[in-house]
């Protein structure tokens, strides 16, 4: 596989996971530091399904998505009824929990990792998956469920008075985001062929937040563009990997200073048909807003 193919596959996978973060953070206003851990759940489940149970590519991917979905209910059910801050804390706990389990479990290969997953993922797989995800997330945004997410984000009390079940709406957004992370994780497992626990730590989760924030919390197009831009950039700068964190910090600072609504604000790319974009959560307070109830 050529270097370019590798970059394209990786970029596509990151873009898929970032779409989930857009639904969760951009639309619903929840901050999760566990998205990479849902990727891990998806990746390991798909990898194990393939390696230990001999399932094929597509069935294994499905196993990964379902596993991530189940995990989202386990994390969401107790924490989403609390204030948003406690939900974020629960996702951090989940992140550490997943990493610890993967490190000690012999079944997942421990800290050495899971080795020998089939090398199947190709560019066209990722392209199809990404196209489908972009379409589905766009539909979600424009549906009554997407509007429910936005109303819960902007005024939870009012949303409930209009008949929106705030808890169920948050759980739905969280599960959708987890499913997309699980899908991304599965594709990742079949691309690399091996998995190790340190690929999916909390720093990786926070990178996804940075991407969506950079692209503009109110814009699906922004989440897509930023994830593609930043991943491609990082892959080009592979040799200077240790500068990654510093670069991300700089991106946040510069965005906050010069364009607090993110690159795209609430602007959406449209193809002829009218598209009503919802304005972004009132950034720059948006990051702090997640902590507010």
């Amino acid at each position: 596989m050529s270097f370019l193919e590798g970059v394209l596959i990786l970029t596509g996978i990151v873009a898929i996971v970032a779409q989930g973060v857009y639904v969760l953070t951009g639309l619903t206003g929840l901050f999760s530091l566990g998205q990479a851990s849902f990727m891990a759940v998806g990746a390991y489940s798909a990898g194990i399904a393939n390696l230990r149970f001999g399932l094929g590519f597509i069935p294994s991917l499905c196993v990964g998505v379902v596993a991530a979905l189940l995990a989202s209910f386990v994390v969401g059910a107790p924490s989403l009824k609390l204030k948003k801050t406690y939900f974020s804390l629960a996702t951090i706990a989940f992140g550490y929990g997943v990493e610890s389990v993967l490190n000690v479990s012999t079944w997942t290969g421990g800290s050495i990792g899971l080795i020998g997953v089939a090398n199947i993922t190709r560019v066209w797989h990722v392209a199809i998956a990404l196209g489908l995800v972009l379409w589905v997330v766009r539909n979600f945004k424009l549906s009554r469920y997407g509007r429910a997410c936005v109303s819960v984000r902007t005024d939870e009390t009012a949303a409930q008075v209009y008949g929106v079940n705030a808890f169920a709406t948050k759980q739905m957004a969280f599960s959708l985001a987890a499913a997309l992370a699980g899908l991304g994780g599965g594709l990742y497992a079949f691309y690399l062929g091996y998995l190790s626990p340190d690929m999916f730590g909390i720093p990786v989760s926070s990178e996804y937040l940075v991407m969506v924030f950079f692209g503009g919390l109110g814009s699906q197009t922004g989440a897509f563009a930023a994830s593609v831009l930043l991943t491609a950039l990082m892959e080009m700068l592979r040799t200077a990997a240790e500068w990654r964190v510093i670069l991300y910090c700089l991106i946040i600072l510069i965005t906050l200073m010069f364009r607090p609504t993110g690159l795209f604000g609430s602007w959406e790319l449209s193809f002829g048909r009218r598209r009503n974009g919802s304005a972004p959560p009132d950034s720059p307070g948006a990051l702090a807003g997640g902590a507010r109830k």
């Binding site: 009554r144 509007r147 902007t154 005024d155 409930q160 008075v161 209009y162 008949g163 009503n276 304005a279």
Partner: protein, 256 residues
């Protein structure tokens, strides 16, 4: 024989710390009537609306909507029983346009599954077209259709207040609770609002509870008035009956 009331507040109490905000309150709302709820500041009027819409939980007593107790229902469950309300302060969804605000409020009137929505199946497109039509229709009734595409928070205050009522109506309620709808409006706007509320009441056959401090508003719209003071019901009757009541005069004007 008199029909059963659509809303029954049955011996309801609510305390915040040591303050008895609502104290053993009993009142009914009959079908198709406008009930004015008045009283001095801090009398517990807004708390009553919060209790009815389950935004605040009741301590004791019961509230029944068409016979169904709301004691253990969350706010969204009460909304499903056909209750809609506005708030004293503006509660618009910031960043959304006027039309999007209305559509978001119409959550319960749009019926399709998550799968329909994710795949944009015909059912979801049909329902979306329908709710957009309904919203535009009610926006037109309130003279807001020209602002449909504008950012809701860019509207002047009076029109934001109207939009709040539009949003409540989009939920297709049978009971409407209005918390100081005319506060901050001038006389002309207030009269316009009164006429619109009356029109909406007739068109959607609503039963309404309205809290207001503008007595002209209450006098001209209410079929019946309940006066509250210190969480208790002071008197109840038509406007002409209660306005001469010595107890009411005392609580508004003080001891003589």
């Amino acid at each position: 024989m008199k029909a059963a009331p659509v809303l029954v507040v049955d011996n309801v109490s609510k305390a915040f710390g040591g303050v008895r905000a609502v104290d053993s309150l009993c009142m009914d709302l009959n079908k198709g009537e406008v009930l004015g709820l008045i009283g001095p500041n801090g009398a517990g009027k807004t708390t009553v609306l919060n209790l009815i819409s389950s935004v605040t939980r009741i301590d004791s007593g019961d509230i029944r909507i068409n016979g169904t107790s709301t004691r253990n229902l969350p706010p969204h469950g009460v909304a499903r029983l056909g209750i809609a309300r506005t708030f004293q302060e503006i509660h618009l969804f910031k960043g959304l346009t006027v039309l999007e605000n209305a559509k978001a409020a119409g959550h319960l009137s749009v019926r399709y599954s998550l799968f329909d929505g994710l795949a944009s199946l015909p059912r979801s497109r049909r329902e979306e077209a329908k709710i957009e039509h309904t919203c535009m229709d009610i926006l037109r009734m309130f003279g807001l259709h020209g602002d449909a595409g504008k950012d809701a928070s860019s509207l002047p205050y009076g029109r934001q207040k109207l939009l709040e009522i539009v949003k409540a109506l989009v939920t297709e309620p049978s009971i409407l609770l209005l918390d100081e709808p005319a506060a901050g409006l001038n006389t002309e706007e207030s009269n316009e609002l009164r006429d619109l509320v009356k029109e909406a009441q007739k068109r959607f056959s609503l039963s309404i509870i309205v809290i207001e401090h503008t007595m002209e508003f209450i006098a001209s719209i209410s079929d019946r008035v309940v006066v509250m003071n210190f969480g208790k019901k002071l008197v109840e009757g038509t406007w002409d009956e209660v306005r001469c009541d010595p107890e009411v005069l005392r609580c508004y004007l003080g001891e003589d």
